[in-house]
């Protein structure tokens, strides 16, 4: 009875998502010619590619700088590390328009970071790098928290035992800690990438152009109406399902045998 109640309640959110997908799919498939026309539009295709690529850049940066940070946070019990953990969580708690303002103030041409970087030719306002930093800002907690949880699950004495066997701290990290955290790293990557490409508010504050897919859908909604924007949205849904479906499958396979403690 309890499980039946769980299933009944759980069916609500799943049903809602499926119903929304079914609704848009049936709507779009009723006019396939128009859908094809929109989906093959060069602006739509290039925007989707740009969105995924900008998200990928943010994620790669996160993997390089976020993995060591997650390790430090997982292994440290000091107050400073707890404070850093809270700071990392801020972008999740703030409304994304605020995140956009924060990023814009910092990276605008006369901002603290924007000014010196634009002096060496790296522009953020209405530029690709602007999109990447906005995505990076909102995706950081998703990556760092997931990977940190993975590192916490690796018992410290496994690392200690490896060190007594002649491995340096870096070798221990490379051969013991990292392989045992692969599943968390891959799911953190997928989460952060997904969060990055879905960002709208923070991105448009700093870079309305070049448009990411959320901006394009909003733009089409305002200029061409619901029909045009739904066709773009449906194209993006298909692209997301294909890419994230494949990633989920791969991440389920790579981490599986490594992270059992």
């Amino acid at each position: 009875m309890f499980l039946f109640c769980c299933a009944l309640l759980g069916a609500l959110p799943v049903g809602l998502i499926l119903l929304a997908l079914l609704n848009i799919t049936l709507g779009q498939l009723s006019d396939p010619e128009f859908l094809w026309l929109v989906a093959t539009e060069s602006e739509v295709i290039s925007t989707i590619i740009l969105t995924f690529f900008a998200g990928l850049c943010a994620v790669v940066i996160l993997m390089i700088v976020g993995t060591p940070l997650a390790y430090l946070l997982a292994r440290s019990t000091t107050r400073t590390s707890k404070l850093i953990g809270t700071i990392i969580d801020l972008p999740v708690m703030l409304p994304h328009t605020i995140a956009g303002i924060l990023v814009y103030l910092l990276f605008m041409p006369n901002g603290w970071l924007g000014a010196p970087l634009s002096a060496v030719g790296i522009a953020f306002q209405d530029a690709f790098f602007g999109i990447v930093v906005a995505m990076l800002f909102v995706a950081t907690p998703f990556y760092v928290n997931t990977v940190q949880e993975g590192f916490v699950n690796v018992p410290v004495h496994l690392e200690n035992a490896a060190r007594t066997l002649g491995a340096s701290q870096f070798t221990v990290f490379r051969t013991i800690t990292l392989p045992m955290t692969l599943r968390h790293i891959s799911s953190g990557t997928v989460l952060a990438w997904g969060r990055s490409i879905s960002e709208f508010s923070a991105v448009i504050m700093i870079a309305y152009y070049p448009m990411v897919i959320s901006t394009l859908i909003y733009n089409r909604f305002m200029t061409g109406g619901l029909k045009e924007s739904s066709a773009v949205a449906f194209t993006m849904i298909v692209a997301c399902l294909l890419i994230f479906g494949a990633l989920r499958f791969i991440s389920g396979r790579i981490g599986g045998k490594y992270d059992r403690v």
Partner: protein
Amino acid sequence: MIEFEDVSLSLGEFSLKNCSLSIEEGEFLVIMGPSGAGKTIILELIAGLHDPDTGVIRINGADMRKIPTEKRGIGIVYQDYALFPHMSVEENISYGMKRKHTPREEQKRRSLELADSFGIGHLLNRRPLTLSGGEAQRVALCRALAVKPSILLLDEPYAALDNETRRDCVADMKKLHKGGLTIVQVTHSLDEAKSLGTRIVLVRDGRVVQTGPSEEVFMHPKEEVTARFLGFENIFNGKEVGLDGRVCVRSEDIILHTEASEKCLLGTVLSVETNGALRICHVDIGTVILTVTMGKRDGDYLEGSKVWVDIPKNTIRMIGAE
């Protein structure tokens, strides 16, 4: 071989205070003490997994302050064995040899040789999660021995094993010790300490309270708390038996008689509990309640009955006596 000179270390709320001890080459040192006493910290200090706040640790005369764990040549086996779950048994055993760039053929040969000597040669391709407690313990031991450590540290290595496996593992350790290996083991099992240790270090609240040869520590506890920890159930004022100061007696050393005999104390049986083949009596002798352990053949004593309590002089230990 290993010397601790006034070593202190604070870790959160725990602190090890002015710990001084020495461990000779070829010794089997057992570190005992209640949970949270600081036993594991001492092992980890030897291994270099913590740096002391003050004091010096020397191994073979060399100050260890600048020597990282990986260069100390010390093997460690943890209570839960700390096997690497993403590697096979063979990869676990050869992990240390790989770090030392031992040729692959040599790694394979030595892994097999070690595994065979501990009866786990058939497990080399298995994953640690599929092993029983005893098998995992031997893999951890082989892994530590594969790099030929000069000192082997054991952190309650038999705690999770059944009695039969534990006996086998204790025998393995005795064999290793006879082979000349210096072993430092942490335990809170009195039986293990008695059967393995050539010397005992008693630790309590981050302090070394007593060190000495196994026999001496078990026979002459320096403090009441350590006496209790060492299995002396009866601690009382020596006046009861005509001595000055506090004394302690093991429950199995006290003899009960139903008839009056010379130098015996009259008492009343308060309760009798059965513990497997043993019976534990609580006897009130007026100023103190004694615990007496008896075999089934030692006669029946009913609650409330009068008994004569014989505490043989040679079983009475003075607390704090040198």
